[in-house]
């Protein structure tokens, strides 16, 4: 099917295929396995590209597959072009793919990275600060109280559920301390992410580069690497040793893929 689709793609005149794949890149951002073009749009495409229904489907599915793989591996445009040429796709068409990917790819990858799926997600934060003057059981209060509104959206419904939580000064301070602590953990996590990311590429040079630049994460790097990726142990130890060197001596630009 892939080869057949290739031949269909190859047979498309260059100008038209460029437009087709450019449009398609925009729609691939849904990546939900649903039909990206409506029936009407498909008809227009068939007319524009002079393809029958089956051929068009094949072309669209193949393009989708190529782009999904590109997103999954976060491949560089040049590498994508090279890979497509290896599977005997016309260099012109490969270049079109590569250019579309270069234009829309990074944004798409970022969007997917941010798109966490969870049954319930926090969407909105609102608040209100009140000064309570009295209540049934007490007069002359003058106590400040804050109401935090958390808008939580469920995966399976459009409606947002509002949760209201009240805090007095002391309770709010305790909550804020907890939130700050979580923030510190999140920051460490980000450092760990960087270390994990580079360690997996099994590139001592890169590890050294990162670890020297961000001293704080040196220890975390060692722990995570040693624990999660056993064969990265060597890599991790190298990181620690080199960390004492000044940054300018070890600043290497990592060769990413």
């Amino acid at each position: 099917n892939f080869v057949k689709a290739n031949s269909d793609v190859i047979s498309l005149p260059s100008r038209k295929s460029h437009r087709c794949f450019h449009i398609y890149t925009v729609f691939i951002s849904s990546l939900q396995g649903e039909r990206t073009f409506s029936e009407e749009e498909e008809q227009k495409l068939r007319a524009a590209l002079s393809l029958d229904k089956r051929a068009l489907n094949l072309v669209l599915e193949t393009s989708a597959f190529i782009l999904e793989q590109a997103v999954y591996h976060n491949i560089k445009p040049a590498a994508l072009q090279q890979q497509l040429e290896v599977i005997h796709l016309n260099p012109e068409k490969a270049e079109v793919f590569s250019q579309s990917w270069a234009a829309a790819g990074p944004e798409l990858v970022e969007k997917l990275k941010r798109n966490i799926f969870a049954p319930k997600k926090l969407e909105h934060v609102g608040w209100q600060l009140n000064l309570q003057m009295a209540q049934s059981s007490q007069t002359r209060l003058k106590s400040p109280s804050a109401v935090l509104q958390l808008g939580i959206k469920s995966e399976d419904s459009e409606a947002q559920e509002n949760v209201f939580v009240e805090f007095n000064h002391q309770q709010l301070l305790e909550f804020y301390n907890k939130v700050c602590y979580i923030n510190a953990c999140v920051c460490v996590c980000v450092c760990v992410c960087v270390c994990v990311c580079v360690c997996v590429r099994v590139c001592v040079c890169v590890c050294v580069c990162v670890c020297v630049c961000v001293c704080v994460c040196v220890c975390m790097c060692v722990c995570v690497c040693a624990h999660a990726f056993a064969r990265m142990c060597v890599c991790a130890r190298a990181c620690v040793c080199v960390s004492i060197n000044p940054i300018k001596d070890t600043l290497l630009i990592p060769e990413g893929n």
Binding site: Q135, L150, V165, F175, V200
Partner: protein, 211 residues
């Protein structure tokens, strides 16, 4: 017709509540021991405990008819509730005692009332009574977890942290939800902003005015 104090109005207001008036009438020839038992039971009731058994045993062991006892208990309850309502900065112990003397109550009883209102149990009484007032749920328990998604079906290297929070509120509800990092930073910013506003508010002169 009740009479108010010549200088300042009593802490009970311009008009003495009827329960308190009837209590002061019925407190005649009540011995101190019985009074203390009743006061103790009423304080427990105000703190939210079930004191039906205690009341029953006191009523059975006493020579005073139940009707009179019920007037006394009602009066005590009302008196203590009204006294707890006013913060100690506004109602001083001496003024409180003076107001009770106006009701022609024996001095021992006044001392006992005073020790409840201005003593160590006051905080518990205040907390218990404010429970019944309307308020939004407060945060009872806050649990969290930081996750890093290494890989997803769409991306082989996602590496995005996210925070999973579980909140238990005072009304018993549980809320478990995921907070993306950007929203978490927004939440942190907003909480810091509220704290700053609260600090500014507390420094303002309106709060320094004593009443």
């Amino acid at each position: 017709m009740s009479s108010s104090h010549a200088k300042d109005p009593s802490f009970l207001g311009g008009r003495i509540p009827p329960e308190i008036e009837s209590m002061s009438r019925n407190l005649k020839d009540v011995d101190h021991e019985l009074f203390r038992k009743l006061l103790k039971a009423v304080v427990s009731a105000l703190e939210g405990k079930d004191c039906r058994e205690v009341m029953r045993s006191v009523a059975e062991g006493s020579v005073i008819p139940q009707e009179r006892l019920s007037h006394i208990i009602a009066g005590m309850h009302r008196l203590l509730s009204e006294a707890i309502r006013i913060p100690p900065s506004s109602l001083k112990q001496e003024a409180f005692k003076d107001d009770l003397r106006m009701l022609k109550m024996p001095e021992d009883f006044i001392t006992d009332f005073s020790s409840v209102v201005f003593g160590s149990r006051r905080a518990a009484l205040e907390a218990a009574s404010s429970q019944k007032d309307p308020h939004l749920p407060t945060l009872e328990e806050f649990k969290w977890r930081v996750d890093v998604s290494i890989s997803t079906s769409s991306l082989s290297r996602a590496l995005q942290p996210s925070v999973l929070t579980q909140m238990k509120l005072s009304d018993g509800t549980f809320h478990r939800f995921e907070v993306p990092v950007s929203k978490f930073q927004e939440l942190r910013y907003n909480v810091a902003l509220i704290l700053k506003e609260m600090n500014d508010l507390e420094k303002r002169s309106i709060l320094k005015i004593q009443d």
